[in-house]
Symmetry: C2
Subunit: 511 residues, 2 copies
């Protein structure tokens, strides 16, 4: 049993004989904590989106954060360990469990598990954190929020159109005005039809040319960065970048490449014109024609409801990354510019995406179940609103009741209770009251608008002193006191008038 | 390498040659899913409690669900693996991570990590799921919600009094009326003082008699079930139960036991009388006297704010389980009776608890940081409200717009949009519209109050038919149609009047 002993001469940490070191007070790598307004702003956004989803007949669903790895489908092919993209652990009974990495996989599990009890179609919304076991980076965290809506059991693309319209409504509801966003719609079937015409998809042998199609997909996805010539090179023999590195291309002939390039530029001013152009491109491909017809139906439904291309448009350039989409795909982009980390202007980009995935529930039941849905990246959307200055102002803190005499804590608590009864957020200072300056510093750190003060003298006379901390801060910043002379930053009021006097001070009108 | 091969003749599952079996669609053992009103009722409760906490000046904090096992303090003594009570896994860099098992340990970590930036005292609230790797049982889940409020950095028991008063306010705010709950307050220092008098605590050697004190604690905790004689037996030589099993006692003499028994019956009608009795019991113990003085201060503060014993009372019978409490402890119990699984009446019992824990932050920093707080078991509280019938009624579903003609989906969507614009929850039927009976069954499953119907005939005449499904259900249950004759369950209204007519129907007043 020699192997089981600790290496000689090296005492294991924390064991007898070694002084146990103190634990580090650290958030785990790639995770973060959220304080104050960061929490309430997100909560408000989730509530607003949930309100839109509910109004459309979607029902809330909250699954557990933990799923079996088997249900998540996250075992690596031919390996007995889960995918490294998930946080997973093995139970004593040998089952592998993992934290959910999105809200779609749990929905597929629920749709299969409760298929006899749920209404069909089943419209549901879900919101909460998801976890990704990925390398963290700046602004990339391993836990973040999603807010999804999906319709399971509706084969018609009317369900996809509904999701797109609802997504536009949700964005406007959280404070992204019309003109600052666009929902782009495409269809995987159209893309596959174009592939068929270009000769890199054989309906009789779907696995053939899979590698070439992968290169084509990735090339289209990079068109914003590489430009048409770069994409054309990748569709052909390959592309050498500025550093001299060579990326192998899909090996398409010039004619084949031209078909694909035509697709990337198929967007026209109206949905009808885009549809007509796509119909030319997919030629005789049956799958492509089906996809074009679906896009046409979606566009017609949205047009009839008044969703013009200023809000929702057909855009063949949208290629969503996930492999499981089978039909319409959509993506919401914010169109306004922000300054990036390097001070460069850039479009904010994608904040939501989704599409139709008709095969996810089938994994469990063997029967195809049509499904479509959208996921809003709530944390990115919050970042966008913050970048535009629409949220994130310093939140006003509570009124702070200071403590002049520690034997009269009950009086101070009664003052705070009176304020709360009037709906005013209030707290009593609970640190060591000895140094009054510390109490005012505390009130400042709490962003308190008003401090309430009552020493023994004031108590004897039945009054309290109110200090207007917001006004005080303004006076301190101002060069001249002249403009403030009619608004005293500190007033004495009868104890009985405490709540009404504080309310007047909070309203900013003086007394 | 023979050991690494699969046993001969047994092909590993899911590998080449074996048909991969379908994953099971199952919630992991001990976890559950929440649907519809279960989700919104909990969200409403959390919002209501958060509102009370905020009004008292507490700030939201949301930590990540994942912590280092080191920060949670969940390594087993002298073992390199985490406590089995947590869900934990080892990262590639060898760090152990785990799901948080409560909201207090993450607060202690945050209070240490951000100690230079947070206001002091720091009042914070937190809400969210916590995870326990324990054997699940009926009604016992491995993921459940907590909703905590804590004050870090306030040494005064005024902070404890504030938490107790706020807890009472939170319970009333979520629908537990005065009289249906009581917040019980005790103090660990008093209990230790009594132990000192009874001779099972030696201030000069705190570890001595630790086993005896454990037996005493557990005995007091069982007084409701065993009665005074049973507890007395456990304090002495031991107790033989009805089945003949013997439990070893603490070995106290009759006089020592009498001191402890006096403590369990020390509760009097008023806080002042209870304090007086406790002061007798702790005799000359300095720690005990300190605890009694603290209870006296808490009682005085609460009395001054009008919290009589109908809401908050001193109760020496409260012995909270957690080892880390160092001063006041409190527990909220619901006093009404419910029927248990066996149909027996019993008090609902504890729904919240907390206390002072002055040593948790010290683990990280080495410096003592006073802290006190409460945790509300939101899922238990929801169960209580459900048992009383105060929540859990079947929620009304959306208005369902049926589909008579699948070529006119745009018209049906426009109807749903009109209803939503009027603030009415509405959806279009998105299943296969061929069988109209299925559409009405769907509306029934959705608990839809109204179905909207428009065939080609109605469309030509510019009208829609509204079916009052609630009224229809009542008529179906009623023996006589007589009483309903003035309220038609189905009416035809102009298309332009759709929203106003539905609203009138929802109001129950007919048209």
């Amino acid at each position: 049993m020699a192997q089981e002993k600790a290496p000689e001469g090296k005492a294991p940490e924390g064991k007898a004989g070694a002084k146990p070191r103190r634990p580090r007070a650290e958030t785990p790598k790639g995770f973060r904590d959220y304080f104050g307004a960061e929490v309430t702003e997100r909560q408000d956004m989730l509530s607003a989106i949930a309100g839109v989803y509910r109004l459309h007949g979607f029902e809330p669903l909250e699954t557990s954060a933990v799923e079996t790895v088997e249900a998540l489908g996250k075992f690596l092919p031919d390996v007995d360990r889960p995918n490294e993209g998930v946080f997973a652990w093995q139970e004593e009974d040998k089952d592998w469990l993992a934290l959910r990495y999105d809200l779609t996989a749990p929905l597929a599990r629920v749709a299969a598990q409760y298929r006899n009890d749920l209404p069909s179609p089943y419209r549901r919304y879900a919101m909460g954190p998801v976890w990704r076991n990925e390398k963290p980076g700046p602004g990339r965290f391993r836990q973040f929020y999603q807010c999804d809506a999906d319709t399971v059991g509706a084969p018609s693309v009317a369900a996809d159109a509904e999701i797109c319209a609802m997504l536009a409504g949700a964005l406007e509801c959280v404070g992204i005005p019309r003109g600052d966003y666009v929902v782009k719609v495409n269809n995987r079937k159209v893309l596959n039809g174009v592939m068929e015409v270009a000769g890199v998809l054989d309906p009789a042998d779907p696995d053939r040319f899979a590698a070439e199609r992968g290169i084509v997909l990735r090339a289209i996805d990079k068109i914003d960065r590489l430009g048409p010539e770069g994409v054309r090179a990748l569709l052909g023999a390959g592309r050498r970048d500025d550093s001299g590195d060579f990326t192998k291309g899909a090996g398409l002939s010039a004619e084949q490449a031209e078909v694909v390039m035509g697709f990337t530029t198929a967007r026209r001013d109206t949905g009808a014109a885009t549809v007509a152009r796509l119909r030319e491109l997919v030629g005789t491909s049956a799958l492509g024609a089906e996809g074009v017809a679906e896009l046409e139906t979606i566009a017609a439904l949205l047009d009839a409801q008044g969703y013009g291309p200023d809000r929702i448009l057909l855009d063949p350039g949208v290629v969503r990354g996930l492999g499981y989409y089978t039909g319409p795909v959509f993506e919401a982009e914010l169109t306004f510019e922000i300054l990036d980390d390097k001070g460069q202007k850039r479009q904010f980009g994608s904040v939501a995406g989704g599409g139709r995935y008709d095969d996810l529930v089938k994994r469990f039941t063997g029967q195809a179940v049509p499904a479509t849905g959208v996921s809003i990246g709530v944390d990115r959307l919050l970042a966008a609103l913050r970048a535009k200055g629409r949220i994130g102002a310093v939140a006003e803190g509570p009124v702070v009741v200071t403590v002049m005499d520690r034997d009269r804590m009950a009086d101070y608590f009664a003052m705070a209770a009176d304020l709360r009864a009037a709906g005013i957020r209030a707290e009593v200072y609970l640190g060591n009251p000895k140094n009054f300056g510390n109490q005012l510093k505390y009130a400042d750190k709490r962003a308190a608008p008003v401090a309430v003060i009552q020493g023994s003298d004031e108590a004897a006379r039945g009054v309290v002193v109110l200090k207007d901390l917001i006004l005080g801060a303004r006076i301190a910043q101002s060069a001249t006191l002249e403009e403030w002379k009619d608004r005293p930053a500190q007033v004495e009021v009868p104890r009985a008038d405490l709540a009404s006097a504080v309310r007047a001070m909070l309203a900013g009108g003086g007394l």
